[in-house]
Symmetry: C2
DNA sequence: ATGATAAAAGACAAAAATATCTTTTATTGA
DNA sequence: TCAATAAAAGATATTTTTGTCTTTTATCAT
C-alpha cells in the first residue's frame, strides 16, 4: 500500500507531463501521455475524463486536439488533482480509520498523525501544476518507470 | 482513499486495544477485540493471525486463551505492525508511484514527499505498541467508530 | 481421557480498484 | 459536405481488498 492510489499517481504524473507540454505550446493526446508516464492508456483516459469534467484539465476533441492547461490552470495546486480523483479523505481523515477525526474525541495517533497530514496538505497546496515545467524540460525529473 | 489500508487501520486499533488489556493483565478474545474497535470479526481474525505468524502479537488457544503482548512486545514500534500487514511501500515508495524512489532519478515531488514520508516513518518508529496504555485506561483516547 | 474453549487454517463471497474495449460525439481540414 | 482525428461515454473484464463461513488444531479444566 502506497500513500496515494494508482489512479491518483497516474493523475499527478499525467498532469505534470501535460503541464510541461502546454508550457512548450502543445496539446497532448492520450496516447502520447500514456507513453511518457508509463500508464495503461484506456485507464488513464478515464482518469483524464474525470479531471476534465471537474475542470482541472482542459481538452478539445478532433484533429490537433488533446489535453492542455491554460495559464490560470497551471497555477492551480496539485491538491485539486488529488481531490478530484481521490476525494479529501487524505486531507481530513483519521489515521486509524475512525469515522471522524476530532480534537475532542481523538484516536491515540491523532496529535502526531495531524502533523504528517498537515505537511502532506501543505505540500499539495503549495505545489502548483506548472511548478516543475522548467525542471521537466531540462530533464531534471522523471515521470515514467 | 486514506493513508493506511483498512487492514492496517484495524491492525493498529486492535494492537492498541490488546496492549491496554495486556497492561491490565488480561488476554483478549477476537470477539472482545472486534467489539471494542468496531471491526468485522472474521476479517479482524485474519489480520491478527497474520500478526501472530509474524511474531508481532502473541496468542494462545483454548480456555482463557486469546491475544496478548509481553513486556518486550509492548516496546516494539508500531511500524512493525504496519510492515507486517501492508509491507514497507509506505516507508520507501515513490509518491508518484515510480518503481523506485531515488535521489539520482527523482520524480518532481521527491524532495517534498521525502519529508512527509520521513515524518510518517519517524512517527511509526517512535510510537511503541504500549505507548498509549495509560491514556487508553484513563479514557483519553477512542478506538471505535 | 474428555468436553469446552478459542485461535489457526482454508475455502469461499462481495465489493472496490484497476484495466480494457467499443461506440458516440465534437472538431478540424480538405 | 466529408473523411480523419481525438476525446467522451458506456459496457465489460480482471485483480485486489475487504469480508464471511466452516473445519481443524491446541489448550485448559474437570
Ligand atoms: S482522530 Fe485519529 S487522527 Fe485525528
Ligand atoms: S522518486 Fe518520487 S518520491 Fe522519490
Amino acid at each position: 500500500m502506497a500513500i496515494f492510489s494508482k489512479t491518483c499517481e497516474y493523475a499527478m504524473r499525467a498532469v505534470f507531463y501535460v503541464a510541461q507540454r502546454s508550457h512548450e505550446g502543445y496539446k497532448v493526446g492520450i496516447k502520447e501521455i500514456a507513453g511518457h508516464i508509463n500508464s495503461p492508456e484506456p485507464f488513464l483516459a478515464k482518469i483524464l475524463q474525470q479531471l476534465s469534467r471537474d475542470g482541472v484539465i482542459l481538452s478539445t476533441k478532433g484533429p490537433n486536439g488533446g489535453f492542455y492547461f491554460d495559464a490560470a490552470s497551471l497555477n492551480r495546486p496539485l491538491a485539486d488533482v488529488v481531490t478530484a480523483v481521490d476525494g479529501d479523505d487524505i486531507f481530513t481523515g483519521c489515521g486509524l480509520g475512525l469515522t471522524y477525526c476530532s480534537e475532542s474525541n481523538p484516536c491515540p495517533l491523532h496529535e502526531e498523525f495531524k502533523k504528517v497530514r498537515n505537511q502532506l496538505t501543505h505540500m499539495l497546496h503549495t505545489t502548483t501544476i506548472g511548478k516543475f515545467n522548467l525542471g521537466l524540460i531540462k530533464g531534471k525529473f522523471t515521470l515514467n518507470k
